[in-house]
Symmetry: C2
Subunit: 559 residues, 2 copies
């Protein structure tokens, strides 16, 4: 067929080909067979698709994404992003791994097959995040080595324990070695100077955490591949765009990191990054290279990211280079989305390896005895940040117990271990939710994903936990003993088994319920989900109790 001796299966005719290899846009006809491009030129084919001068570009690739952040199954995630032109995603199943370990990664591999979207896996490198929380699993370098050779495994995911790496801790260096020459992703917010040099020297090859220009410049100069992040909350492209030139853009890719289902649908995925980059003044061809071939080359995604012989026929079609609204998405030559509508198949849900809600707790343990004097440490939310502050307040005491004080916006925060039925319960207090009544709860609670509930009273807190257990995981808003809104996340306590539209509807309902209860946070459930993340300063609460996240040690409630 390539030689033109017999007709190809399919011909995309009269395209304006966005050629990311020659860095130009030129007219072309593209012949396809067996899901691949077999020729560019004047070919015959059994079926002809006349593009009538529309742009044809390679499908987009996300360089770093935690698919759990969408709370969608793989098929429903495909439903969300394929209409936006996404053809492949490099995912770090960090949350699945924290709950299910290697079984979680295998589940991701298994449940992401037979979709019009290719998934490549980076092996989570920091499970659990610290020893100060009880996760569902622990992954060592030996575990990573067991899976690294899989052809869909692209490398080792973000090495979040960056001090461990730059200090040369053997456990962390072993994880890099387990990568066996595949990609090694970094995660080094704010890291600069000599320790950054040491981090790079240890073998880390990328970073997606730069929030400042100077920081990103240092990383780029030292040879890191820059993943330009545009997620639901973390948005760095506008800040970093001035750094990117046509002399260095080959060392950049786009990434979303964490993005909610609703945002993926309404705003878009990597197509949004491309649009934004073009708006920021980047040449369209450069923005599209960053969204396609650059990612494929960095992660060695064979035959992805360009339109030329041997490459998969993963295409997007659009009519205006600046607006860049994806009209059609093709996967291996098949039309899989058109005008925002997903046309792909939806395979049945793959059963998860095991149940993950194993609770054993006594509600009496939610009570906190007051001391006679002294102030207590309260977690103060910093809106739209995952860091928190520690503040000292005089507790409100009723009948010898410290209780929530809605007048001062102090809620009780409870974490219940859910993986191994240890009975661990952590209790603390939090300021910033502004709930006037009720409680909100979640089994999405980075990184160990235990049950976390913030509430104004113990009864509603308990009611939330009961509901979460009943749903086999999820998000819930409870008031006066009644469930006001809920989203069941029965898959690992992280992911819904419902269709995309239903997930978005429930999420909207949950946010509305929290708002009605008094919260003015943009995303109160996301905020809640980060209150257990022990490596992030300053004060956190895990199933093991209050954590001084600056010094990475347990701490007491009273100051």
């Amino acid at each position: 067929m390539a030689r033109g001796e017999e007709p190809a299966e399919l011909l995309f005719k009269n395209a304006r080909l966005v050629n990311v290899l020659s860095g130009e846009i030129h007219k072309a006809n593209i012949a396809v067979a067996d899901g691949r491009v077999v020729g560019v030129g004047d070919y015959e084919a059994e079926k002809v698709i006349d593009l009538a001068g529309a742009y044809l570009a390679p499908s987009f690739i996300d360089g770093h994404f935690h698919v759990e952040s969408s709370m969608l199954t793989m098929p429903e995630f495909a439903r969300a992003v394929v209409p936006h032109g996404t053809g492949a995603v490099v995912i770090d199943p960090h949350e699945y791994a924290n709950v299910l370990g290697l079984d979680g990664i295998r589940y991701v591999l298994e449940s992401s097959k037979n979709l019009p979207l290719d998934f490549f896996i980076m092996l989570p490198s920091c499970v659990p995040a610290t020893h100060l929380e009880t996760a569902g699993a622990r992954l060592t370098a030996d575990d990573l080595a067991l899976m690294i050779a899989d052809e869909r495994v692209a490398g080792v995911a973000e090495l979040m324990n960056y001090p461990g790496v730059y200090l040369g801790q053997e456990s962390e260096l072993a994880k890099i070695r387990a990568g066996k020459g595949k990609a090694i992703d970094g995660h080094a917010p704010g890291l600069k100077g000599k320790n950054l040099n040491a981090y790079v020297l240890a073998g880390v090859r990328s970073d997606h955490e730069s929030t400042e220009l100077d920081e990103a410049e240092q990383k780029l100069r030292l040879g890191m591949h820059l993943l330009l992040r545009e997620g639901s909350t973390e948005r760095n492209l506008a800040t970093l765009a001035p750094l990117i030139t046509t002399h260095n853009s080959m060392n950049c890719s786009f990434a979303t990191d964490d993005k909610l289902a609703g945002d993926l649908v309404s705003e878009g995925h990597i197509d949004h990054c491309v649009r934004k980059a073009i708006k920021l003044g980047m040449p369209p061809i450069t923005a599209i290279q960053i969204a396609t071939i650059n990612v494929a080359r960095h992660y060695r995604l064979r035959n992805f990211g360009a339109i030329a012989p041997r490459f998969w026929a993963d295409f997007v079609v659009f009519d205006d280079l600046k607006k860049l609204v994806v009209r059609q998405t093709y996967k291996k030559g098949l039309l899989v989305a058109e005008n925002g509508k997903y046309l792909g198949t939806s395979p049945e849900i793959v059963p998860q390896p095991r149940s993950t809600m194993n609770l054993r707790y006594q509600a009496a343990n939610f009570e906190v005895k007051a001391q006679k004097t002294g102030k207590i440490k309260v977690i103060e939310i910093v809106p739209e940040q995952i860091v928190t502050k520690q503040v000292l307040v005089s507790p409100k005491v009723v009948a010898g117990k410290i209780v929530a004080d809605t007048a001062r916006d102090i809620l009780k925060l409870v974490v219940v271990e859910r993986h191994r039925a240890t009975g661990n319960v952590g209790v603390g207090f939090v300021r910033g939710f502004k709930l006037k009544y009720g409680a909100i709860g979640s089994t999405v609670a980075h990184d160990a994903h235990n049950v976390v509930v913030a509430g104004t009273n113990d009864a509603d807190i308990k009611r939330a936990i009961v509901e979460l257990e009943k749903m086999r995981g999820g998000l819930v808003a409870v008031a006066h003993g009644k469930v006001k809104a809920a989203l069941a996340l029965p898959i690992a306590g992280l992911v819904s088994d419902q269709p995309l539209a239903e997930v978005i509807r429930c999420m909207d309902a949950l946010n509305a319920a929290a708002a009605k209860m008094g919260s003015d946070l943009e995303a109160p459930f996301m905020t809640l989900s980060f209150l257990s993340l022990s490596p992030i300063p300053e004060l956190k609460l895990t199933d093991q109790g209050l954590i001084d996240a600056v010094h990475l040690q347990k701490t007491t409630l009273y100051a």
Copy 2:
């Protein structure tokens, strides 16, 4: 050391760093230890080299070179190019392999160690060139598979049998598969259109044979890595430069393919390519990226091609970005050349695996009986090209034998098989050397490298062969029974065991002798060496006789 907790071994201070990763030139200090860059920044070190604002760039890398074309041993080749800033060379030991097979490749690996220059090997894919000549070895895909895993083997060398590839011949596809995901080099002069699509689809990833803009554009658009060639005779950079933009330059590297020792010393190596590209209007940073990181990435030369933590401390120092005269070359932190003078070590010559001059011939076979009538086919040289023309002439006959006719510039051409003592002798006639007396001979005779001699009389032809045998291979000019100039090439009959300067001196003497004998060719010995190359049109002579190189079959002397 990277963390700055103890002093580095070496600090290159006050550099203008040519940063091929961030695509800019910025001031920097570079710390080195154990031969690698460990940090870029304000470091302490045991030894400080103050560059006082000079440019510091990564050492240059040649993307495709036949080291045999220099006729130098590996150490002497290093002596020639290291002062020009070359730090690594991707070589295709095609000539060694034609003479010595896998033993030749192993010899190249062995004899290229412990030098201030790194060699990466592409496994020759077309040995012998055709079935119409008797080479010293035959390499199949199975042979390539035996060596592909070597860490210094970067892939499979130029697939010269490009019709075999695009027609899908199993023997050629097997060679591509033997590459096991390493680089697959192409060689497809003039190939365009659908057959080029098929060639790319088969798995070929680069090409260095483009001589026209349109041809190179097609190759680049289809995803081939373009090796921009500047050799002793083939010079394509000026032609192809208009194609290269900052949107596609990442898909280009420089290569020399074939370059004589004298040209390497006087004109330079990859530094010459960089200078020429800059003169042609290319941004200096782009030209240096093409000469460094682009090659390293294409061939996956780990830790080569940039200056950043983990990369080898392979540096060049120069004072003027446009003139770009390399003042110093560093290898793994050591100064190995300065102001044109080589400071590296010269290890002892590694013994070759076996002798390669195994002749058995009868001089009587050089005689050609005349027929009563008819014209004969004569090879006509096309100056500075490897193609020849076929012309028909009436032979000069003396005593029933066809003899050379200097009046019409028709010399006798003799090829004697030298690998297996088959006794094969091919005899023909050639026009274009313009020798008035004597003979010139060579054991460098692409691709089989048998003995080839062009002469005005049988006595001098025989004298040349005797001398070549005595020297165990080489080049020779003979007149009136006496050797006028010679260069012994006892290593595989291809390479001298003498120092660089002596090789250049002998080569100059040989050219002068040929000129004195009447030749006006620029490089008569190079011309001679291509008269046996059976796959290149139109008429050639091998040990098997006259070859119709258009139809790839033996032919007769008489038309």
